[in-house]
């Protein structure tokens, strides 16, 4: 339900004129909710940024998500995070 909540909050903020990007832990839910920009990450519930205290991995995920904000592609954008 967290993935639905985040997608819905993202939509409300986006509609207010502020671009958003969200992480997704459950692709099936995100595909239904369709937030504007979402990065699907290959981690379990509770671990959206990968691993505790792994700053390098956390930065890779954030960078991949921020890239979606700069993408000129048509919305919604749903991309998979691929570990470097």
């Amino acid at each position: 339900m967290c993935n639905q909540s985040v997608g819905l909050i993202a939509g409300v903020i986006e509609k207010a004129g502020i671009p958003t990007v969200s992480l997704s832990l459950l692709l099936m839910v995100t595909k239904k909710v369709r937030p504007p920009r979402s990065l699907s990450v290959p981690f379990p519930f509770g671990y959206p940024l990968g691993k505790p205290h792994d700053a390098k991995l956390q930065h890779q995920i954030i960078r991949a998500a921020l890239n979606l904000l700069e993408s000129p592609d048509e919305l919604p954008i749903l991309q998979d995070f691929v570990t470097a």
């Binding site: 339900m1 967290c2 993935n3 639905q4 909540s5 985040v6 997608g7 819905l8 909050i9 993202a10 939509g11 409300v12 903020i13 986006e14 509609k15 207010a16 004129g17 502020i18 671009p19 958003t20 990007v21 969200s22 992480l23 997704s24 832990l25 459950l26 692709l27 099936m28 839910v29 239904k32 909710v33 369709r34 937030p35 504007p36 699907s40 990450v41 290959p42 981690f43 379990p44 519930f45 509770g46 671990y47 959206p48 940024l49 990968g50 691993k51 505790p52 205290h53 700053a55 956390q58 930065h59 954030i62 998500a65 921020l66 904000l69 700069e70 919305l75 919604p76």
Partner: protein, 160 residues
Amino acid sequence: MARLEDLKLTHRLFVAAYPFRTSDWAPGARLEKPLSQSKFALISSAGLHLPDQPPFDLEIRGGDVSFRELPNTLDVRELRISQRSSDFDQTGAREDSNLVFPLDRFRELAERGEISTLNHRHFSFMGSITAPGSLVSDSAPQVAEMLREDRVDAVFLVPA
């Protein structure tokens, strides 16, 4: 990614039958400046709150749609979690709150000049909401309005 099979059977059956709501945002907003000139705010749905803030109410039917304002000055080690979802394994987040609310990472991005700055406040929700009507009509719009007042350029959201 997490898989549907990771959920308990009862939750899996619920998710399979649940009429997920589609997010209504068309036509969408565009970032009007480079990331290096953009001010960011973070939103987490992990149920985070500070020790002096009331925890989320885990008893409300349909879920607690309220939010907590998290000041940008906080130390992530202060954060507490009140979360109803039993599917959310809190072990990692208790060890490092950046796992669900990457404030330290965004501070590093700002220090390195990759983003301009962080907003003076961020927001926390408890994402386990099965009846999101008032989330969409009331609490999320309140947060959106505050972010507009703060002239935030972009928002990064994290589920748990």
